[in-house]
Amino acid sequence: MVRYCILLFLFLPSYLIGSESVYPVFEIPDTLLKNANAVIRNSEISYDIISDHKVNMHIVNAITILNKNGDDYSKFIAFYNKNIKIGYIGIKIYDFSGKYIKRATASEIYDQSIISGFSLYEDNRVKMYDPNVSKYPYTVVFTYNYTFDGIVYYPEWMPQRYNDVSVMTASLKVTTGKNTGIRYYAKNFNGEPEIDSLKGKIQYIWRVGSLPASGKEPYSPPAGEYRPVVYLAPANFSYEGYDGDMNSWKDFGLWVDKLLKKRNDLPEESVQKIKDLVASTTDTIEKIRLIYKYVQENTRYVSIQLGIGGFQPFKTSTVDKVGYGDCKALSFYTKSLLEAAGIKANYTLVNAGAGKPEIIKDFPSQQFNHVILNVPVKDDTIWLECTNQEMPFGFLGDFTDSRYVLNISDKGGELIRTPGYPQKQNQKNCFAQMKTGSDGDIRGKIVLTMKGLMYDEVFGFVHDDAREQKKWLHKNLDIPEFDILDFQITQSGERIPQAKITIDLKVPRYCSVTGKRMFLPLNMVDKLKEIPKDDDKRNTDIWLKRSFIVSDTVIFDLPPGYHPEHIPEAKSFKSTFGEYSCKTVADSGKVVYLRTFKVNKGLYPKELYPEFKDFYRKVVKSDKAKLVLKKTE
């Protein structure tokens, strides 16, 4: 019987290669071709859970590449390491009619180490293959296996991850023993999984089909907020000898806490050093500030992830000695220094990144990629990002603000929230005073103040050297051509930091001159330029990531011999999305331009898209306004 199967298996592929057409393109319905650069013809992922530390995974993925922009989806890329091993890999390529073109031989599949950009060392490797076909459309079929030894988290199943890929059919299958157990959470998924019981096992199947590509839509929320996604997590698990339970946040937190046990072995002399460092003050916040500064001055971020080291920090004595570590190591080290000074701080897991979807509160699992600290003081909490040497004390920025995080203590895990930054804290202010010459040149001073999350935008450049800062200004100040005569950048504030940029500049030909007239653009550096694109059938809701206020006061001294012939009228309008107002006042050889633009963050229903577009269109139009000056005859 077994032999028979093998023979059949050997026989089958050549038969397929011979004549059968595989995934011919004509089978793709027209509705799935629109907006698409590639179409997933069929994707099957199945997990076979053998025990709480052994899992097999089988993947079949057939994808048709429609044009050159879809080429990236034709590449085979599979990561592995000593805990996640790859078995069989089969890759076959077919032309538009489904005729076999070629397959990847073992020697053509490239193997190399892969270390993420921010990391010094990881034990991760990758196998890759690029089919290199440029006659479109064509179809690639991948078949491969993984074996997991210890699994703390499963990659989330999101059959449609990209907005330029349609999906014909996709399925996720999980087979597990009755006792091993798997937990799942489906989002944006209609109905329940199909559940089968067979021979002491349970099988769950999720299927989706006919998902058209949505195309690029600006101001879309992250894909996980509106696309079907299934999260899987173990109930009980074991990773390199550390057993855990993930049925509640409390239990998962206990596992993480277990990994921290016995990791704090700070040498006595370092403990004493910290005690001396904070001896000068009795104020707790001041003590935390001193320690935070000490960490910033004496450590740097270097990531090393090896096995359990992906979840467990370095010992504090190691960080103390070498002066570097990753987010876990540096946070845990800072926590230990605070403890040396008698201050309790909590190790906190967070899903970091600007514009990340909220974690799923009801589904305790490993949904985090970063570690920070929270330090409770009296009626307040101080949040510390320990991997950056320049971060203002207590500032989180949009990398980790306003989201649920997992607070770890010996009592287990608990979800708490990081603070957000409301609109009035996120301000950009431009104050400019410019002299206009009769040749259209202007010259003067601009003072830009960036606060809160607006500060975040200039954070990197505030600490750079003068040459780089100058380059940055030339690239980011929205004026076509200018000379910087002098500039200065200062920073102040901690939890709500602020950067002040003062620039002395000359803008040759700022005004265009035609005959007797000169056209003076009033909005100097804050023009809104892009109107959200036309979209008759918007698929996604409108997502405005952050609230902010931009205000401008620009004073132009007019050139002698010119007078305003036309002053653009004042404008003021409001919408759900924000507010706008501008006005221009002329007074004895001077013109003052005042503008305020407010945006309210939020997730707005897609039906409001025309209104949103209209609001931005009005702002764009108004921002283009020019003052018309005429030579006095």
Binding site: S113, N132, K321
Partner: protein, 655 residues
């Protein structure tokens, strides 16, 4: 300089006076490359010792504390790292404190079959730290001497490099870049090596065989080179530039010959003549195009019968190979396994594809030879330094009516005779039995774009009309490339509308996308709104709409290195405006003509008024591919004038 011993004054230093922007400076960098006879192996090995000391002023240069040393692998021949030592120095309360790099913080990464990396992060690095690093590499790859860089993106106070090469190996020295050497010495020195040989004697009669050792001393000469560069400024890249490798200061040593018995080498490059010969006989190059090619027989017969003359046959062969073969993205001057194999698989590297084309052309009776070259990002080929190292690409050529036509069948959207920008790198070398020599790798055509617009304005300030665009040369290549990213015209139109505020495309036609020999032609029927501004009884607008140049590509005050474009440019815009009745043309921009020095380029802005019709012509021509740094200021100002003219308005007044 002794490892681990530093001058405390360097620790106290807070800024590098010669460049106060520098976040770090290399205090010194000593390198030595030499050969040593390994007795147990019975052959020479290549050694490289380095001692480098870096002072860090600012956190942003902490990257200099994280090191990664690449080590090559070629079968059983490897580069091996040894004696890696590192110390970080800090000033703590007036005292020098040392932190040593410990062995357990050093990681070895197996990158892939041909490469390993040793990686480490230096301990206790703070602002003000000095990092001292020392290591040696012992290598079996005697043909591969690492390039020595005198210049980095941070300044270097002292860079010293010594190379010693025994007479058995002949290396070519190439020093390039803008940094003057403070010391340069080259002399011949004496050296010797003691060889011990196993000798077997006896074995006759009753005596048994005996083994004993004989010692002999071999004297030889070695070539000695010594370089010192002092106070080297940081290398700052400028755009557009062919390749940073043409301008950064470095010393390269490239093997051209090995004396018989001291190793094997497939690349003999003592002269271009020798290189020609080597390549013609190479199994992965010339040998494959001398004869054979039976697999091409049917196609060759088809082309012979379908096309009457050499030129059309060449074009047919070029299209055939280009369409059949997929380029796997690898640059190579040598084919992978065999041309027949590549033909069957329909994929190959640059040599597989272009040598196959040479073979096919030859079978068609056309005088065809390959041309080897360095691609643009590798830096220029050096005519005065014959070597095969660094030459990473091969293209095909044909001689038709005594004109040399160059072809690269790896890249789509280019007609026969036009090379992709990647290949346009000054010179290539023609490899030929009968006429080896240099070939100019110049663009066969420029970048030519023409836009003709007929536009009528109505009383409300809305414009309607047609836009006809024609793309030639590299402009056609660009637009074909761009269009291939859309599934259909509708997607393309939607994108154009999105990018140009107020533009509505009512109809669209395109010609010659597939016929590479003809210019691409587009015709749009459009409506443009929101582009004219009302100002009391006036309306003003920019007649160029979306087609104005608004940004100066040159932002730096000064330029150190030349400005290099791949090709010449010619952009022309013509507009015919009809102004509605009831409006009078109050003001139009003045005409202007600006020229670049030495006929480097010209800009024209011309406007003519005929009743209710305005004609606008604007032309930008760049007629040189290279501008020296002295021309930079005029080039920058040239663009400033273009931007100013392109921003000017037409003013209409309501009567």
């Amino acid at each position: 300089m002794k490892f681990g011993k530093i001058d405390q004054n360097n620790l106290k230093m807070t800024v590098y006076e010669a460049d106060t922007n520098a976040g770090a400076v290399i205090l010194f960098d000593f390198g030595k490359t030499y050969f040593e006879y390994n007795e147990s192996l019975g052959r020479f090995q290549l050694h490289f010792d380095r001692h480098v000391r870096v002072k860090i002023f600012d956190k942003k240069e902490y990257g200099w504390a994280d090191w990664s040393i690449p080590l090559r692998i070629s079968g059983s021949s490897v580069e091996k790292l040894s004696e890696l030592k590192g110390v970080t120095f800090n000033l703590e309360n007036g005292k020098t404190e040392k932190s040593k790099l410990s062995g357990k913080n050093i990681y070895d990464e197996d990158v892939h079959e041909y490469l390993k990396r040793t990686k480490f992060a230096m301990p206790n690095v703070k602002e003000g730290s000095i990092i001292d690093i020392k290591y040696s590499i012992t290598s079996d790859l005697i043909y591969y001497i690492h390039d020595w860089y005198f210049q980095y993106d941070i300044p270097v106070m002292w860079s010293e490099y010594t190379v010693e090469i025994p007479e058995y190996y002949i290396f070519k020295k190439i020093v390039s870049g803008y940094v003057p050497m403070s010391v340069y010495e080259n002399e011949t020195k004496q050296d010797k090596v003691v060889l011990r040989e196993k000798v077997r004697t006896g074995g006759q009669g009753f005596s048994t065989a005996q083994t004993h050792y004989s010692t002999s001393e071999v004297e030889f000469q070695k070539e000695y080179y010594h370089f010192i560069a002092k106070d080297v400024p940081a290398f700052i890249e400028e755009q557009p530039m062919t390749s940073k490798e043409n301008y950064i200061s470095k010393a390269e040593f490239e093997l051209s010959m090995i004396k018989p018995g001291y190793g094997t080498l497939s690349d003999y490059s003592t002269s271009w003549k020798a290189i020609n010969k080597t390549l013609l006989n190479n199994t992965y190059f010339g040998a494959k195009i001398k004869s054979g090619g039976g697999f091409l027989k049917d196609e060759v017969e088809r082309i012979m019968s379908e096309y009457p003359d050499e030129k059309s046959r060449m074009e047919a062969a070029y299209s055939f190979i280009k369409n059949r073969m997929e380029w796997d993205g690898f640059d190579s001057k040598y084919i992978n396994t065999s041309l027949k194999d590549a033909y069957g698989k329909k994929t190959g590297n640059s040599a597989d594809i272009n040598l196959m084309l040479v073979l096919m052309l030859r079978k068609l009776g056309i005088d065809s030879d390959p041309v080897i070259l360095k691609t643009r990002d590798e830096g220029f080929i050096r005519e005065d330094y014959p070597t095969l190292f660094g030459i990473n690409f091969v293209i095909a050529s044909a001689l038709i009516d005594s004109a040399r036509i160059l072809m690269d069948a790896t890249t789509g959207f280019l007609p026969c005779g036009m090379l992709p920008i990647r290949d346009l790198n000054k010179k290539g070398r023609l490899i030929s039995e009968t006429k080896p020599g240099w070939v100019d790798l110049k663009p066969a055509s420029g970048y030519k774009f023409l836009s003709m617009n007929t536009i009528t304005m109505d009383e409300t300030g809305t414009f309607t009309g047609s836009i006809q665009r024609s793309y030639q040369g590299y402009a056609a290549y660009d637009v074909r490339q761009k269009l291939s990213g859309y599934n259909n015209n509708d997607e393309y139109i939607a994108e154009v509308e999105d990018k140009n505020e107020g533009l509505k495309i009512n109809s669209y036609k395109i010609e010659n996308v597939d016929d590479l020999t003809k210019p691409v032609k587009e015709k749009f029927e459009v409506t443009i709104s929101d582009q004219a501004e009302d100002a009391g009884n006036m309306i003003y607008f920019n007649p160029l709409f979306y087609q104005a140049i608004t940004e100066n590509p040159f932002k730096l005050k000064k330029r150190v290195y030349p400005v290099e474009y791949p090709y010449k440019k010619d952009l022309t815009l013509m507009l015919n405006f009809t102004v509605p009745e009831g409006y009078r043309v109050e003001e139009v921009p003045e005409n202007a003509v600006v020229k670049l020095p030495e006929n480097g380029g010209i800009f024209i802005y011309k406007i003519t008024k005929m009743g209710q019709i305005l004609q606008v012509l604007t032309k930008l021509k760049i007629t040189k591919e290279m501008f020296v740094p002295e021309d930079y200021e005029s080039l920058k100002e040239f663009y400033n004038i273009i931007i100013a003219k392109h921003a000017e308005q037409i003013v209409l007044v309501k009567e």
